[in-house]
């Protein structure tokens, strides 16, 4: 097992429930702890897996503070209840303001980050170079490809400076080549800061598990209405986290089967 320690709780979900005309989510309880790896700025990558229509998007909105749960609460650092704006959110279709150029969109986000005061322009240029978007700063979102939009969305949320980045189905609609690039990009983000925490909501099991350290399975239990966290899998304990080409390993494939059986 890779040498690491788990520190303080960075995100705590306590008894979250959501009910419309019927229960959608119930008794959602989990926490994410800060992972410390010697010699590395290792962030956390957590995946929430569930079948389509199980309530992943609702849980995503609750975690991001865009929706209030019917019961329970989500807290971040030092028990602070989460509110919209605390989390960086990357929507499924990488939504960007269509009337802003890439540069303008990034500047709006950078201006929200007090730590970047006076250095917004230089920081945007640095990020653009790192994300291979230097030549695209003056383009509008409609002029970008799906992959470029994704990178701009991620850059926008990184510039905003939130420790948490929530990603809704980040791999859907990407071709094989773009998928690899997206994975590489997320790993790069997770290594950018000790407290950086990526929460991926996805039904693409193989890809999301391959880059995560923890998996939470959202599903239904017999005779109980509403989805809940059925199982937590610590991929570090299983020596499946932070490994390149893990997808070929037998134990990885066994874990995938285990997850599929739980769904």
């Amino acid at each position: 097992m890779t040498k690491h320690t788990k520190g303080e709780v960075v995100l705590q979900v306590t008894n979250v429930a959501l009910t419309y005309d019927r229960p959608i989510l119930r008794d959602i309880n989990f926490c994410i702890k800060n992972i410390v790896r010697p010699g590395l700025s290792q962030g956390q990558v957590v995946t929430l897996i569930g079948r389509s229509g199980i309530g992943k998007t609702q849980l995503f909105k609750i975690l991001s503070g865009l929706q209030s749960p019917t019961a329970g609460q989500v807290t971040i650092h030092n028990n602070k209840p989460v509110k919209a704006g605390d989390m960086g959110v990357i929507f499924q279709n990488y939504y960007l303001f269509e009337w802003r150029t890439v540069y303008q969109s990034l500047l709006l986000a950078a201006k929200k980050n007090k730590a970047l005061f006076g250095m917004e322009k230089q920081t945007i240029e640095q990020y653009a170079e790192q994300f291979h978007l230097t030549g695209h700063l003056q383009l509008y979102p409609k002029q970008l490809s799906g992959g470029q939009r994704q990178r701009v969305s991620i850059m926008q949320q990184l510039l905003k400076g939130s420790d948490f980045i929530l990603l809704d189905e980040p791999f859907s609609g990407l071709d094989v080549c773009m998928l690899d690039k997206a994975v590489e990009l997320l790993l790069q983000v997770s290594l950018s800061d000790e407290l950086k925490t990526l929460i991926i909501v996805s039904h693409d099991i193989e890809t999301s598990v391959a880059i995560s350290d923890t998996v939470f399975i959202l599903g239904n239990e017999p005779d109980k209405a509403g989805a809940t966290i059925k199982k937590e899998i610590d991929l570090i304990e299983r020596d499946l986290a932070w490994q390149k080409d893990i997808k070929q390993e037998k134990r990885f494939l066994e874990t995938i089967s285990e997850i599929k059986n739980e769904l």
Binding site: L66, V89, W99, L108, K142, S145, Q148
Partner: protein
Amino acid sequence: MMVAVQVVITLLLWQVFSDGLIPKPGKVAEAFMHLLGSKLLLDNILVSLLLTLKAMLYSILITLLFAYLSVLPFFKSIAQFIVKCRYLTLTGLIFIFTLLTKDGSQLKLSLLVFGIVPFFVTSFLSVIVNINPQEYDLCKTLGYNHWQTLYEVIIIGKADQVFEILRQNFAISWLMITMVEGLSMSEGGIGTLLIKYNKYNDLTNVLALQLVIFMIGLCFDYLLGTIRHWLFPYSKLKTAKAS
């Protein structure tokens, strides 16, 4: 090419079926050319255009005020009432407006504004209602408060659509101008000119003037569309490039 063929067919049908009362296309074209060269037309067009532009400016300001405020519950019902005012006829309100205004110029302007605003508000409210909820969500995730969200999504984000509404509703203003100009004819205008020609059954000049009105409308439609694309370059972008 197809349009050219359609125009030719229409002109041919017009030529064949017009009798003594309806002037033939050649006569209308002659009158049209004569009108174009006259100072009378230019003066009257300027009067009408000035009044239309003034009315549109006031209308868009009133529309924006009520449309932006419509996000607040108190103003939402007022905006919705304005939308319903589309079904009021101006004819029945002329006397009330005459009492409320000082002179013919003010009467025309206020009637025109009253006639245009409900259509502007209707169009703009439909833009607001159809805003993608993700635009608001993105603002929230960026930590914007309500006013910043209003500014970004509705004021800045929909500025190009305000221009489009202006373009689409210019036709309504242009339609109304001929009607309101008939109420106070001392200042002139193409509406006045049209009424005069109609009074003397000068159908050739009526049709020639209709042609002028039609062409000015088309020019403005094109001009406003071009200005929109120039001011808001993203409004003409349709497709994404391949990666």
